[in-house]
Amino acid sequence: MKVCTVTFAIAVLLPAMVLGQGSAPSAAVPRTPDGKPDLSGLWQRPYVPDMTKTNKDQSQIGIADLPFTDAGLKAWKSYDAANGDYTGSCLPFGLMRSMNSPDPIQIMQSPQYVALLYEQNTWFHVIPIDKPHHDGATPTWFGDSVGHWDGDTFVVDTVNFNGRTRLDTIGHPHSDALHVIERFTRTDAKHIAYEVTIDDPRTFTKPWTNKRTFTLRPDWEIMEYSCEENNKDLYEGHIKPPPR
């Protein structure tokens, strides 16, 4: 079966690419004219429906026990997707659930901006470099992101979320106090080490981190993905819209 064959190949190859293991020499890292590591390209990512799990191929490393606050644990224990998974209504996934989606992302980069184009539902998120957060801005699904280079790592700091999203498909919660720190490090010609830290003092007693490996797919092109096109699940009433 072709799908299984591809999966098996990935499973065999990826362990050698795992985060923190033997990064290729920096000379192998493509760079932009200003000398920064070039993050551009179409990247295949591990699907992360549950951030507490670790993939067998180590392409995604989670932590099993999230440090919930009492309020966070209550929010987690009381969640029932059948009462309205907002993504089923094609509402924006938000930053983390978009980063956790299985479809590839296109990264575009200039000295002033990095843009992430998510194939999932054809969303995008633009990250200004070396700019301050917006002051008093309306909270949003993807939050307010700013980026900076920490050596060869691109660091994205995001705040001001609207609190209407979930961290992952299984429904781990967060509040509107969510603060996300992402670190993108191009480790060689074909891979990005991605690390995300979830900091939400209302939901978790301490920040926690999840790590992944992205793989460059020059043989792929980003494709259109219309969530609304034939969303029979919602249109025919098989799922509920989320509480408003």
């Binding site: 299984c4 699907y47 059948a82 993504t87 479809d103 494709m223 034939n230």
Partner: protein, 139 residues
């Protein structure tokens, strides 16, 4: 059981989960992991559209009564990258679908396996959407 589309209660493994295909919504938002189902029928229509493909099929029970079913599959983008096309399944094809029923009791299912009579899998790849990849013991 009279119906060929009978809900199975025996612990029979579903397909091996190979690639994630679905993320549009949580499995639990729509489908019941305790209601595994096997359908045998004839394809009447295929929606090769976002966010998921849908396979429509007619099944017959032992008396010859026809039931209309619809089953959700993966997103066409992912299926395309895995080598499938809208022509991989044709109207009139006989199929065997294993999956899970929707919670609302309609003739709607989430397909975890679609096979032709020769055993060939179509649209292979299981939906890593928080739903089960195989039936739990005792189900």
């Amino acid at each position: 059981m009279r119906l060929k589309q009978a809900v199975l209660v025996a612990g029979i493994g579903l397909l091996a989960a190979c690639l994630p295909l679905v993320a549009h919504h949580s499995f639990a938002a729509e489908f019941d992991s305790t209601k595994a189902i096997t359908l045998q029928g004839v394809v009447t229509k295929l929606d090769w559209m976002n966010p998921h493909i849908w396979i429509y099929l007619d099944t017959k029970d032992d008396s010859g009564a026809v039931a209309h079913w619809q089953c959700e599959g993966g997103p066409p983008n992912t299926l395309t990258r895995n080598g499938w096309t809208k022509d991989s399944l044709k109207i009139g094809d006989q199929v065997n679908i294993e999956g899970f029923r929707s919670k609302d009791g309609s003739n709607t299912c989430n397909a975890r396996s679609v096979k032709l009579p020769n055993g060939k899998s179509v649209f292979a790849g299981s939906a890593e959407d928080g739903g089960p990849n195989k039936r739990a013991p005792g189900q």
